[in-house]
Assembly symmetry: C2
Homo-oligomer: 150 residues x 2
Amino acid sequence: MDKLDNVIFYNLEKAVKSYRQFAQANCLKAGVEITIDQWLVLKTIGEYPDITQHQLAGRIFKDVASVTRMIELLVTKDLLFRKSHAEDRRRFTLTLSDRGRKVLELMRPISLSNRRQALEGVTETELQTVQGVLQKIIHNVSKEVDEKTV
Amino acid sequence: MDKLDNVIFYNLEKAVKSYRQFAQANCLKAGVEITIDQWLVLKTIGEYPDITQHQLAGRIFKDVASVTRMIELLVTKDLLFRKSHAEDRRRFTLTLSDRGRKVLELMRPISLSNRRQALEGVTETELQTVQGVLQKIIHNVSKEVDEKTV
DNA sequence: TTGAATTTATTGATATATCAATTATATTTG
DNA sequence: CAAATATAATTGATATATCAATAAATTCAA
């Protein structure tokens, strides 16, 4: 036993990667020239207009260094503006450009369709179970202060 | 609505990344100087001693180009041997070195413990449901010939 | 209110991801 | 068998991941 195929984390990775490739391919097919990761950044900025790059990194499970570089790229692509923050000069204010907003609009039906297709045949109950298990895993592995050693 | 937090794929990614960081940190704590990805390569070669790099890439959901570079690195680290394949000169035979086997042994209890900790409080039934849903997703997004267009 | 600690972000180094082009060898087929 | 096709792997280019070191601005505390 102990084979990788039986390990749930192996299958989690497989599902995530398969879905990503599928989603990415569908973006391209629809003519949207953006990576899933870049879309995640734009979408998150849309949801949280005053977010810091640090918080953004946390939300999309990336390193701040990665976020810095992704933002540079999105600015170069004219999807995002970055200007110094009015109240805190350490920060930057990130604003979607017209093109950025347009990309988000174009992506909306695509991502809905991606999810619908991917979840075909999965019941609402199953989905709830999965969400619950994912939350448990996330909780279990998040570094917490070990009571015994405090 | 339509917020990222409610999207199952977002939570899948979060769980995968959280678990990876957790697992990686525990390897380091145990003094094993290897990345999870490198471990995956070694482990897979251990399970399939005559595997091609192409098949290996498929098994661990990576590109053949990535695999080429990871193997170079593992050879440099003296965890792996690579020699020309006896019957097919396009291929290479990948063999674990003594050090490579030792690393796998060291990792065994660690990965078991990682999984046990991560799945604490998750029932066997829930696990079955998750595995089933993952299989469905993987099946749904895997590119298949569209019957209508054939 | 100055000096220490914290927060926000960048940069450099190295590993991995992905695509496209290329090389070498094997296999198929006319 | 020779030519076409397929398979195995590498390389280059670019994007992202991660860690550590650094810089700049802010906040906290003595």
